[in-house]
Symmetry: C2
Subunit: 202 residues, 2 copies
């Protein structure tokens, strides 16, 4: 991730650079989320961020560099995900789903997740990042199960349900999944997640 | 879908055309499934099918036309999906999952589903096709629930779990989900699908 340009090629004061880079990344997230890899151009991102396309190249080097920056989940989100796994086990299904719903509603995290899912098909690098996000965030830090494999199976099953639901609800927008209220989603899905947390699965 | 070339531009006997077109479509499925939209070229498809690239253009017009042909689910699969919804309700969870596992193992259906999921992010047309496949096959013909919305919510939830599992197992190949046996998958997931079929979800 190269959010900051090299010192030797400073186009403006340090603060301005940070602000402009953040604005470009935010615009890139929206473009990649909406149009995928092939449908996104540096020019369109620059227009949405109200900067010159040359500045995008200057900061991020290439469309690939821009994608990399746009699909890095914010640190505070990774911390929230790690924290959710410390929820008491009997409330974990609801806690995971509640965090997932809040994440997609977040102005920064939602487009990042959307961009990752939209571009994972295209770029080997994004697919690898998606694998790392799923393994690290959704599976890696859980403490479920009787042994290591059981832990990974259970957290993998939780990931499979939350990811499939997120795709239908937020990315493909298939009704009536897309317009269910959060409370309806929790009532419908949390008990299934809870079975993966602590139920008999074999 | 333009599997057959126009009669006026016949490059060979009728049978040969069918055979060649089918070979090109099969190669295209594999390429789109593996490399997505942006990573697939007519040239690579022609090479894999052992035909001249000009013949691919002749039969399918463009990369978009080829994608359309490659992502049309076989009729026999659509019929199998329709039939599975007539399974007695108390066995439906297992039946849906068993069909899903068999579909991905099928030499023709597996790459088709894979290609749809891999390219849905890119092409509005493929995303629309995916929506039609999910709504028509996975949701449309079910007879669950107390009313129309309940029917669509239940079948949509079933779709969300089966699609999320398929992505992790077959497309992103995340372990240990990717290497679970079919029996393990059924034991783990079918009861959750069964809850969506007939359980209390609100």
């Amino acid at each position: 991730m190269k959010l900051m340009p090299k010192k030797s090629s400073t186009p403006g004061p340090r603060d301005e650079r940070g602000v402009l880079a953040a604005r470009i990344v935010a615009a890139a997230r929206e473009e990649f989320a909406e149009h995928g890899w092939a449908g996104t151009t540096i020019r369109a991102v620059a227009r949405a961020a109200d900067v010159d396309p040359a500045l995008v190249y200057h900061y991020f080097g290439s469309k690939g560099g821009l994608l990399d920056a746009a699909t890095n989940p914010p640190q505070r989100w990774l911390e929230n995900v790690a924290k959710v796994w410390t929820t008491p086990v009997d409330q974990l299904g609801t806690a995971v789903l509640t965090l997932m719903l809040a994440s997609w509603a977040d102005a920064e995290v939602g487009p990042t997740l959307h961009a990752i899912l939209q571009t994972a098909a295209h770029e080997a690098a994004t697919r690898e990042k998606l694998r790392r996000v799923v393994e690290g965030s959704l599976m890696g830090v859980s403490q479920l199960g009787a042994d290591e494999r059981d832990r990974l199976v259970r957290s993998g099953l939780i990931a499979s349900q939350t990811i499939g639901f997120a795709l239908m609800r937020y990315v493909w927008k298939i009704e009536p999944i897309a317009s269910m209220t959060d409370d309806e989603a929790i009532a419908a899905i949390a008990p299934n997640l809870q079975r993966y947390v602590g139920g008999q699965i074999q």
